[in-house]
Amino acid sequence: MSGGNGNGSVRVGVFICHCGGNIADVVDVEAAAQAAARMPGVAFSSTHMFCCSDPGQAMIVQAIRDHGLNRVVVAACSPSLHEATFRRAAAHAGLNPFLCLHANIREQVSWVVRDRAQATRKAVRLIRAAVARSAHLAPLERRRLPIRPSVLVIGGGVAGLTAARDLASRGIEVTLIESSPFLGGRLAQLYRIYPTGQFARDVLNRLIREVAGHPKVKIYTNAQLWSSEGFIGDFRTTVRLIPRGVTEEPADLQAVLDACPEEAVDQFNLGLAKRKAIYRPYDGCYPPLPAIDWRTCTRCGACVEAAGGRGIQLDQEPEQIEIRSGAIVLAVGLDTYPLRHGEYGYGKFPEVITLAQLNRLLDPTGPTGGRVEIRGRPVRRVGFLHCVGSLQRKGVHPPMRDGRINEYCSRVCCTTTMHTAAELKSRFPELQVYDFHEHIRTYGRKHENYYDRVCEQGVVFIRFDPARPPRVESDPKGEWPLVVRTVDRLTSGEELEVPLDLLVLATGLVARDMKRLIDLYRCSVGPDRFLLEVHPKLRPVELASSGLFLAGSVQGPMDIAEATAAAAAAASKAAALVCAGSIELDPYVARVDETRCSGCRICLQACPFGAIARREETRQAVVNEALCMGCGTCAALCPCNAIQQCGFDDRQIGAELEALLAPEPELAAVSSQEAFDGKAQGR
């Protein structure tokens, strides 16, 4: 690693960023720069409109060279955004990058303090603390960790399959695990998909062929996440494999299915049919072998008998395997909004179904063979109700189990509704179709075509008032199974009564219950319960924990094309990581001072990463620097003060705190208006 210069007299350069107006609109950056110039050790201070820009970085590099600076303090946005940028700039000028500190005067000052004088004082205080700490910094070297050239993909839906396909075609070993017995996820349950009108099954089968046949891919179905150890470059994930129960294709599958006496609700067909305890969700599924649903199976042995005693085993034990990988792609997908009993009549009237259920009914291989009928009755009038479980409002919609309402838009339901309505109208032209909506959000490429088409097909649009959502009741006259009562804002709030045979609820999409995944990998979760990317624009497919990538709708609602693109983007990041072969890690490791260590072992037990061992000869603690994540737990707990954390040692933190807590900084008058001349105060 380049750069040195930790020695000799300290010469600090302070660079204060306007951040456009993000900082300078509130903080008097010029006054702050003048104050910084008077701080002990500061040899140069200056401001810049955008320190992170090329010219901004060039200014820092130039100042380091011109003024012989050996410490750099940049007061700007959050270090999570640009600490790395400024460290690179420092390194470019020949300075050890860890002699560069980043003070956050945007998130911690200008975005939260309104008063200009107060904000400027706080900014100066933070700068003063960073300057004080910087004097005690020492050059540090990054660690290099090898990266195992393999990736674990969690989830066998369209996103997981796409990520696996893409990584494998780059020659990377991929292990794909799927918690259910079959691949395909929600894509398998769809009928036709927009904007191509392809059969979902065709798209899926092709994808599965590409993945399942690939020599670099290993697939485990019925595989549940059990535990996880390790870190970026070498994750060790333990997976529990639930036995499938079926080891070879029965000669007469139908006879085996017929023999099974136990029935369960067919989840694949969303409760519209029943299936046996030994089952296959649909013909052509992957893997093609049937599976046994152990919650329903009573182990009566009827299937074994029907199969002639071959290929079915009811006494297999679950097995645990360890999967080692350099990176992990999370692609566990999402769920549809769980309707409460009676919500918009769901569960109360059999004529109220979800959009996903309608998709099963439209499928010629589905439970009704493609007929849209309810309890054997043909359908004459259909209504679609948008935003069920999406765009919820406090006081109008009851909260979900966690006490939160779903304020967000589920993104795919509008176009799915238009697409499905168009399909219905073209298959059953005499059908009358009503659409109850707040906004129609057919935003994507060619999505508007479906909206146009259903308008031409005569679908009637009714715009409800979200404060008074439609009510679903039985027809008092008894002529129709259902009546929807709503106001129509398109006809100046007229009260309407729309009798229907069938009401289709466009239920929104919600995050899966991912508690185990979240705990195991310490994932960030957003207020919408979906996994939260580091930054929607800077790092949109990465989690804050290194080596973990997000593929598809685990991150939020997406349609098939969007989930595919996100999965490919995640694959691209994972491929870049594992192809590099190694990665540099921050040098913030714990170090043991052997003259002080008493061998008490407190640190050994406290380390969450198993990075501390005891050297037998000396009975003292020793840190494995490849495993140390720099959390600082050991340094905080050591009763002998024998452990120091590089970059955060006692002298550094002490100096920082002292400067932070010292009396109010003195300031020249804070200018009342925004000053943008950006002149440097060198000396």
Partner: protein, 443 residues
């Protein structure tokens, strides 16, 4: 500036946010990339934006580091101010015919000191600020431009030699000629982005005729702290507006101007600008006239509700016509949908036309990949291969395949890079096999 090689693994056409991301993601996987940009600086539309929805991060803070990263990446070479004249398939790779336009500045020698710009006496309306600010006839495109090199605009230059006299490196060259280059690339990624539908497209709105009917991109520059004004004002008299109207779908979802599709970002940028107007000028009212509010992305509906909480008014209405009053105010004739279609005339003192997105580049006959009837690149297998064009080896990302916001463009750029990487692996395998075959046959 790095010397341009004869052969690259990938050529990325377009140096906006999608192109830069695609270049970075492809180079990140170990491939050598050439990034070609038509304008004098990379950064595209994004570098001129103020803050971005839904986080209200400053756009430059996200875009400029990407620009620096792309420009300094050891496996990325940059060619700015360069037009792509032809992309053709020649056995096993693509050949790009490029036209490097003259900056009238010797790039290799220029140190970007800006003295030429200071010395120049000729002021010209600045395109970067949509005409509201001024630049010189020789100018560095803007403060965040990469490369930080000036370009001379021969249309406005008086050739008085002032710049050449002060240049410490003697690198002003009035006789510089366009330069033709041919570069081979294993794969091509097209990320040529967008332009807005013309202001004049909807004659009845008076765009381009009425001073106070403006483009949302001009609003971005006015709201930017590094913009020409530093605050929102009426172009006619410089006054801070008291009542701003946004006319939504003023260039989208409209067959009469040939843009039947939704431009996908206008609802959100209008809401964002409206929030920022309200924050900077709490006394100013902002009204959006809309058909549907399409706040579909992650955190977007929440952002919409925040706008309402900050006092932004939204009215479901179709604007039929805008007329100008003698004082520069504007009267909007609107059909108020929520009031049963009542027609009203409503006065505002500044109107923003939420223009739609159309492709910035229509390379018919230049690139072999097909365009769709909407003018964007055709993506034949959009559900499974969303970054693949109709030609194997040519990939597409960002608005080149239809309107898209920044996060979606960035994600798609990652997908395009992945596809390009897979394709390059595939052709190198094929080449290796062919080489092995010919060795066998030679033996």
């Amino acid at each position: 500036m790095a010397k341009i090689q004869a052969h690259y693994d990938g050529a990325v056409i377009g140096g906006g946010i999608a192109g830069m991301q695609a270049a970075l993601d492809l180079a990140g996987q170990g491939f050598r990339v050439l990034l070609v940009e038509r304008e004098p600086s990379i950064g595209g539309i994004m570098v001129g934006l103020n803050k971005v929805f839904p986080t209200l991060d400053c756009s430059s803070c996200i875009c400029t580091p990407r620009m620096a990263e792309a420009a300094h990446h050891e496996r990325i070479d940059l060619l700015t101010y360069t037009e792509v004249e032809e992309v053709r398939r020649t056995d096993g790779h693509f050949t790009l015919r490029l036209l490097k336009k003259p900056r009238y500045v010797v790039e290799e020698d220029c140190i970007g000191c800006g003295k030429c710009e200071q010395a120049c006496d000729w002021f010209v309306p600045h395109e970067f600020d949509y005409g509201l600010g001024a630049r010189k006839a020789i100018y560095i495109p803007h403060g965040n431009a990469i490369p930080q090199l000036p370009v001379l605009d021969p249309e406005h230059c008086m050739f008085d030699g002032a710049c050449a006299r002060v240049c410490p490196k003697n690198c002003i060259d009035f006789l510089q000629q366009p330069e033709r280059l041919e570069v081979k690339a294993g794969s091509v990624i097209i990320a040529t982005g967008l332009k807005l539908t013309p202001m004049e497209a909807k004659k009845e709105y008076g765009g381009g005729r009425y001073a106070n009917v403006i483009s949302p991109l001009l609003m971005e520059r006015m709201q930017s702290s590094n913009g020409p004004t530093g605050h929102v004002m009426r172009p006619s008299d410089g006054r801070i507006p008291r009542s701003v109207a946004y006319v939504q779908c003023a260039g989208s979802r409209d067959r009469t101007i040939g843009v039947p599709y939704c431009s996908r970002v206008c609802c959100m940028y209008a809401l964002k600008q409206a929030i920022l107007i309200r924050q900077h000028h709490p006394g100013t009212e902002v009204t959006l006239y809309y058909m549907d509010i399409r706040a579909f992305g992650k955190g977007y509906e929440q952002f919409f509700r925040r706008a309402l909480a900050e006092g932004v008014r939204v009215v479901k209405a179709k604007v039929g016509r805008i007329t100008e009053e003698p004082d520069g105010d504007l009267v909007l004739r609107v059909e108020l949908i929520d009031e049963g279609g009542r027609v009203a005339e409503i006065r505002h003192d500044l109107v923003v036309l939420s223009q739609g997105l159309i492709p910035a580049w229509r390379p018919v006959g230049i690139v072999p990949a097909r365009l769709d009837e909407d003018g964007f690149f055709e993506v034949p297998e959009v559900t499974t291969r969303p970054a693949n064009s109709s030609v194997d080896g040519i990939f597409v990302a960002g608005v080149a395949t239809g309107p898209k916001d920044i996060p979606d463009s960035i994600v798609e750029a990652g997908a395009a890079a992945m596809e390009a990487a897979m394709y390059l692996d595939r052709i190198s395998r094929v080449e290796a096999e062919e080489a092995a075959m010919s060795e066998v046959s030679n033996d």
